[in-house]
C-alpha cells in the first residue's frame, strides 16, 4: 500500500486511526469526575502532541539514522515560528504561505549551519550545533531587536498588531490564523452524557500534516537514501572507501530534519500567532533529544511516542498541586498524609522536570531502545509465557503420571 510493505503499512494505518480518533481517546474520563484531570483531549494540548511529534520525527531522521546528535534543532523551530508570524504580519492570516515560508527559511538556515557543523562528527558536531543554536537565540533575544531594525521583537516576542499591513487580508476572513477561511480555533464540541469531546480544526490541520510527515519519514527510512544514512552510522570509513561521499548525505539528512523542525515551528505559530526567542533556547533543543531517545531513536514510531509521552506528562504533572495531593493521600492518617505530600511535592507542578529527569534516567539505563523496546519486551514476555505455560502443563502432566507408574 502506498509503496509501503505490510508491516509499515499497518503501523501507518494504526497511527492514522489513533490520530484521527485522538479527541475521543484522550478524553476517556467524564467531565467533572475526579479523573478528569488526566484527560488530554483539549485542542491546545492535542495540537502540541502532533506538532512536537513532527519535530521529533524530523529529528529522528538525522539522529536515528545517521547518529549525528544535533543539540541545536530548536533554532530551526524558532526560525519557523518567526517566519510564519512575519507572513501573518505582512501578508495574510492564511496558514499555507506561513507554513511554506517557515519550511523554506528553516531549510536554508539548516543548509548553512549543517554545511559548517558537519565538517566535524561526534561530540564536536553536537557542540557546533549547540553553539549555532545559542547564537540564534542571542540574535533573536536581543541583537535583532532594536528600534532601527526589529526583526524579532526581543523579550516580548513577535506578534501581530492591529496596525500591521496584512496586504492580502480581507474583512470577510477571520481575524486569526485560518486555512482558507476556516479558523484554527473553530471547535465543534460533542457532548455525550457527562463526556465532552472537542473537535478542533487547528488540531486536524496539524494532524493531517503530521500523518503526511510520518508517511514521508517511513519512505525515507525504507529508501536507498535511508540505507546510506544507516551505513554512515554503522561505518563511515567503509562508506567512503565504497565510493560514496558521506558529506552530502549527512547534509541532506540535516536539511530535511531542519525543515521538519521549521514546519513544526510554523505550525506552533499558526496555532497561536506568537513567536518568542525562548523557543530556540538550548532546553528546547534538549527536549527533542529527550523525546527521540525516550521513545526510541532510529525507530519509526518512537519519536512520536516520546513526544506524546513528554508533552502529556508535562501537562499532567504541572497541573497537580498540593491540594490535589492532599486529596489523594486523604485516606492516610494525618501525619502520614503530610509526610507523603512533602515527599511527592518536589516532583509535581514546577518540579515536573525532576520527574522527567528520573524517567529519562530509568529509560536510558533499563530500556536503551526507549518505549518501543519496552513495548517489544512486554510483547515477548507475553509470547514466552504462553509458550512456557503450555510447556509447564505438559511437564506437570508428566510428573503427575510418574509416581503412579
Amino acid at each position: 500500500m502506498l509503496g509501503l510493505n505490510k508491516h509499515d503499512a499497518m503501523l501507518f494505518v494504526i497511527v492514522l486511526i489513533l490520530t484521527l480518533l485522538a479527541p475521543f481517546l484522550l478524553n476517556p474520563f467524564p467531565q467533572g469526575s475526579s479523573l478528569a484531570q488526566f484527560n488530554a483531549g483539549y485542542p491546545d494540548l492535542m495540537q502540541r502532541f502532533v506538532i512536537y511529534g513532527i519535530f521529533a520525527i524530523g529529528f529522528n531522521i538525522l539522529f536515528g539514522l545517521t547518529g549525528y546528535l544535533s543539540f541545536g534543532h530548536a533554532a530551526f523551530l524558532g526560525m519557523g515560528s518567526y517566519a510564519a508570524v512575519w507572513i501573518f504580519k505582512l501578508l495574510t492570516y492564511n496558514v499555507v504561505p506561513a507554513i511554506l515560508l517557515s519550511v523554506i527559511v528553516a531549510g536554508l538556515f539548516a543548509l548553512v549551519i549543517g554545511y559548517i557543523s558537519l565538517r566535524r562528527s561526534g561530540i564536536y558536531f553536537s557542540i557546533l550545533t549547540l553553539a549555532f543554536a545559542q547564537m540564534s537565540f542571542a540574535l533573536a533575544y536581543s541583537v535583532l531587536s532594536n528600534p532601527k531594525f526589529n526583526l524579532t521583537n526581543g523579550e516580548t516576542g513577535l506578534q501581530v498588531y492591529s496596525n500591521d499591513p496584512q496586504w492580502l487580508h480581507r474583512a470577510s476572513l477571520p481575524d486569526m490564523p485560518h486555512l482558507f477561511g476556516l479558523s484554527v480555533r473553530s471547535t465543534y464540541t460533542l457532548r455525550m452524557n457527562g463526556w465532552t469531546f472537542d473537535f478542533n480544526s487547528g488540531y486536524y490541520i496539524c494532524a493531517a500534516i503530521m500523518i503526511l510527515m510520518f508517511y514521508l519519514s517511513i519512505r525515507i527510512f525504507r529508501s536507498p537514501f535511508g540505507m546510506m544514512l544507516r551505513a554512515i552510522k554503522s561505518n563511515q570509513q567503509r562508506l567512503n572507501y565504497t565510493g560514496l561521499n558521506s558529506r552530502p548525505y549527512t547534509l541532506a539528512a540535516f536539511v530535511i530534519s531542519g525543515m521538519y523542525a521549521g514546519l513544526a515551528g510554523g505550525l506552533l505559530a499558526a496555532m497561536d500567532p506568537l513567536a518568542g526567542a525562548e523557543r530556540m533556547q538550548w532546553t528546547a533543543s534538549g527536549e527533542v533529544v529527550l523525546m527521540t531517545i525516550l521513545g526510541g531513536a532510529g525507530t519509526l514510531i518512537g519519536p512520536v511516542l516520546g513526544a506524546g509521552f513528554i508533552k502529556y506528562f508535562e501537562n499532567i504533572f504541572s497541573k497537580i498541586n498540593d491540594n490535589v495531593l492532599h486529596q489523594w493521600f486523604a485516606f492516610l492518617p494525618d501525619g502520614m498524609e503530610d509526610l507523603m505530600v512533602t515527599i511527592v511535592h518536589p516532583f509535581i507542578g514546577k518540579g515536573w522536570n525532576l520527574t522527567l529527569g528520573l524517567l529519562f534516567m530509568i529509560v536510558v539505563i533499563f530500556l536503551p531502545g526507549g518505549l518501543v523496546e519496552g513495548g517489544q519486551r512486554v510483547g515477548r514476555v507475553f509470547r514466552r509465557r504462553d509458550r512456557k505455560a503450555s510447556g509447564a502443563e505438559a511437564e506437570a502432566a508428566r510428573q503427575r503420571r510418574t509416581p503412579a507408574e
Binding site: G3, M227, A231, T242, Y249
Partner: protein, 252 residues
C-alpha cells in the same frame, strides 16, 4: 605500461623516512604482491594509493590519471576497491544491504538523493547483489545481521562488496593478518576462486609468505621504505637480498 604506476614516491614522518624513491608498476590482470618485513613501509605505500596519505614527492597514476590529492570516495569511483586488514563492513546492516550499497555507488556515483525511491524498483541491482552472494557462497545468509557473523564470513562479505563493483584494481591490505592457518587457507582459496572466475587486477600487501607464493604472479619486496627487487615468485624465493631482508629481521 601498468594500470597502476608509482614513480619516485617519497614520504617522511618527521625524522623517519617511511618511503624513499618507490617505483612500482602493476600490470593489468595480474596479482601483484608487495611484501616486506615489519616497518618496511607497506601500509604507508597502500595509504598513498587510496588517498589517505599524500606523498611528499613522486606520482601515483592509475589508468592514466593521477590519484594524488583525491578523496577516498573519488579514488574508488576511478575503479580502485579496497579490502581492509580487519574486515570493514556495515555491521548494523544486513548482508544484502551491505552488498547493495556498493551496487548503488557504482551505478549512481558518489551521491544521489534517492530519498523517496523504493527497493522494489531496483530489481537489477538486487539481482546483481544476489549473483555475487551466490558466487561467494553466502546467499543463505542474505538477511543476516552482518555484525553477528564469523570473522571468516565478514572477510568473505567484504570481498564480495568490493567485487560487486567490478573494480579495475582490487587492493588487499594483509587479508590474512591475525588469522588461524585454516582461515588463511580459506582466504587463499577464496582469492584463487575469484581470480579464476574473472579478469581482475589485484595488489596484495602481505606479511605472510605462504599467502604470497600461493597467489602472486609478481612480487615486489620492500625493505626500509625502498623496493629491493621486483620479480616472479620463483626468482624471489632464491634471491639473496630477500633472504637477507627477512633473515636479518629474524636474526635480531
Amino acid at each position: 605500461m601498468g594500470i597502476l604506476e608509482v614513480k619516485g614516491v617519497n614520504k617522511r614522518f618527521g625524522g623517519l623516512k617511511a618511503l624513499s624513491d618507490v617505483n612500482l608498476s602493476v600490470r593489468e590482470n595480474t596479482v601483484h604482491a608487495i611484501i616486506g618485513p615489519n616497518g618496511a613501509g607497506k601500509s604507508t605505500l597502500l595509504n598513498c594509493l587510496v588517498g589517505k596519505l599524500i606523498p611528499d614527492t613522486g606520482s601515483v597514476m592509475f589508468d592514466g590519471q593521477s590519484v594524488l590529492g583525491r578523496k577516498p570516495h573519488e579514488i574508488n569511483q576511478m575503479g580502485i576497491s579496497r579490502v581492509f586488514q580487519t574486515p570493514e563492513i556495515f555491521g548494523d546492516l544486513t548482508v544484502m544491504e551491505n552488498i547493495l550499497i556498493p551496487c548503488f555507488a557504482r551505478r549512481d556515483g558518489a551521491f544521489r538523493l534517492h530519498a523517496f525511491e523504493n527497493f522494489a524498483h531496483e530489481k537489477d541491482l538486487v539481482e546483481k547483489a544476489e549473483a555475487i552472494l551466490v558466487d561467494v557462497n553466502m546467499i543463505d545468509k542474505r538477511n543476516m545481521h552482518s555484525a553477528s557473523m564469523s570473522r571468516g564470513d565478514k572477510r568473505r562479505l567484504e570481498m564480495a562488496m568490493c567485487l560487486v563493483q567490478e573494480p579495475k584494481l582490487l587492493l588487499l591490505d594483509e587479508p590474512t593478518a591475525g588469522m588461524a592457518r585454516a582461515d588463511t587457507n580459506n582466504t587463499i582459496d577464496l582469492l584463487r576462486d575469484i581470480k579464476s572466475k574473472r579478469d581482475i587486477t589485484m595488489c596484495i600487501i602481505e606479511h605472510d609468505m605462504h599467502v604470497v607464493f600461493s597467489l602472486a604472479d609478481r612480487i615486489t619486496v620492500l625493505a626500509q621504505g625502498t623496493p629491493l627487487v621486483e620479480d616472479e615468485p620463483e626468482n624471489i624465493k632464491g634471491n639473496p637480498k630477500v633472504q637477507e631482508a627477512y633473515l636479518g629481521e629474524a636474526a635480531h
